[in-house]
């Protein structure tokens, strides 16, 4: 690796390490995510579980609930990655020192690990509480990975945008929902397929939908890399 490239990677790593170091010392994001996720999880399962959803209905409805839990937990805990920088006024120092692309990737990696941790925590508990069997665990894992990445990258960019606005809390949800909707539709479709097995709704197969999900991830990543410097610096 040429010296300049390795320095960029070193910058990304530095941002990533800093995020987690600060996070371990405050545990703010982890607590928020975990608390929110579990509260929603319990509310959902207590309302639905005892009624015992029929298998056919369950495989259609429960994937939606899973992703809603993930989405709202992300909305509760992720924007802080950028909002905190602005509120504690450390953003100025970052603006003067960091390469925007490295900063974006570092933050993205941090948000990604948060989302992955969230999914690892929520999914098994959800499947257990709802007694939801999964026909293709491999597909489910792939969807959680690719879908989780999509959640992370979309949320990171939107968080960077709203961090510089007023009314950040509500604004994040308002702005991120239209952007994340295609992602949600894709992952729900794929999750239903993974749960029910075989061909999913309306004759679509994972072979058609999964590439679309990956394309979404790639598109938003490219858009994020190109738009972040504009959002971050005047």
């Amino acid at each position: 690796m040429s010296p300049i490239a390795s320095s960029w990677a070193a910058e990304v790593a530095a941002v990533f390490v800093k995020e987690w170091r600060c996070e371990f010392r405050t545990r703010y994001a982890l607590n928020t995510l975990a608390l929110f996720a579990f509260t929603t999880l319990v509310v959902t399962s207590v309302s639905l579980g005892p009624m015992g959803i029929a298998k056919a209905q369950g495989s259609a409805v429960l994937p939606v609930l899973l992703w809603l839990i993930l989405l709202f937990s992300v909305a509760a805990g992720l924007p802080r990655a950028f909002v905190q920088e602005e509120e504690s006024q450390t953003a100025t120092a970052l603006r003067l020192a960091a390469t925007p692309s490295a900063l974006f990737c570092g933050k993205l990696l941090y948000c990604l690990t948060l989302v992955m941790a969230l999914e690892l925590l929520v999914t098994p508990v959800f499947l257990t509480l709802m007694s939801l069997g999964v026909e293709s665990p491999g597909l489910l894992a792939a969807v959680l990975a690719a879908g989780g990445y999509g959640l992370a990258v979309g949320s990171t960019l939107v968080a960077a945008i709203i961090a510089q606005a007023r009314t950040k809390g509500t604004l994040f949800s308002v702005l991120s929902f239209p952007v994340l909707l295609p992602l949600l539709l894709l992952v729900v479709e794929l999750t239903r397929t993974a749960v029910a097995g075989g061909i999913g709704d309306m004759g679509s197969t994972a072979g058609v939908v999964l590439p679309q999900l990956l394309l979404y991830d790639a598109s938003v990543s490219v858009a994020g890399l190109m738009l972040f410097p504009v959002v971050w610096n005047p």
Binding site: S7, A10, E11, A13, A14, V15, V17, K18, R21, C22, R25, T26, S88, Q89, T90, T92, A93, L94, R95, L96, A97, A98, T99, A102, P229, N233, P234
Partner: protein
């Protein structure tokens, strides 16, 4: 710091408004190697705004800023990363120690933390304390350590001696003079009535 061949900052006709309020109304100036530009004016006259524009933290509505190093004019993005900036609203991570802060920013700036830590040693700031636990005077010393970290040729100082006791002020002023002696540039906004010798240029803002 390597001997600066030709480092020069010049700005012309800078204008900036916030809503109805016109804060900068056509400000011009320049500063060269070893020179110090002092910006004076009453509260609200735009001194901080000017420094933010020069640092690349704020885009002026009109006007130009030109910063050259070694006969090359730097883009705003490059200039932003090259300056050393001290200001009251600049904060570092309170969950990290002073040393950890400098190490982090050194990695971002692709340099080592040694010089920054040396500055903190000179300013007598213990580096193993959490930045959030520092008093306001110590935080100001930390700002200086952060600003000097990458040996910038251009220092932009907004209230640089704020909250410092006499020894701290003497030490930071020494750093500033050393910087100038080595051919560095400085733009200083100092609303207090402190005398600063070695002022080469002056701009007076205000109505």
């Amino acid at each position: 710091m390597p001997p600066p061949l030709d480092t020069r900052l010049s700005f012309e006709n800078l204008r900036r408004r916030f809503g109805r309020l016109s804060v900068l109304e056509g400000v011009s100036g320049e500063v060269g190697p070893g020179e110090l530009l002092l910006v004076t004016g009453p509260n609200g006259s735009g001194k901080s705004t000017l420094l933010r524009c020069l640092a690349g933290l704020l885009a002026p509505d009109r006007g130009t800023i030109q910063y050259r190093e070694d006969d090359r004019v730097l883009e705003t993005d490059e200039r932003r990363r090259r300056v050393g900036y001290v200001a009251p609203d600049l904060a570092l991570y309170s969950e990290l120690t002073a040393a950890e802060n400098l190490e982090f920013f050194a990695r971002l700036r692709r340099t080592g933390p040694e010089w920054g830590l040396e500055v903190l040693r000179r300013l007598e700031l213990p580096t193993d304390r959490m930045a959030g636990a520092l008093s306001s005077g110590m935080r100001q010393r930390l700002r200086w350590g952060w600003a000097m970290l990458h040996r910038p040729r251009l220092l932009l100082l907004d209230e640089p001696f704020q909250n410092l006791d006499a020894p701290g002020e003497a030490a930071t002023r020494g750093l500033l003079y050393e910087h100038l002696d080595q051919g560095g540039l400085a733009v200083v906004a100092n609303p207090s009535s402190l005398e600063i010798e070695r002022v080469t240029h002056r701009i007076e803002l205000g109505r």
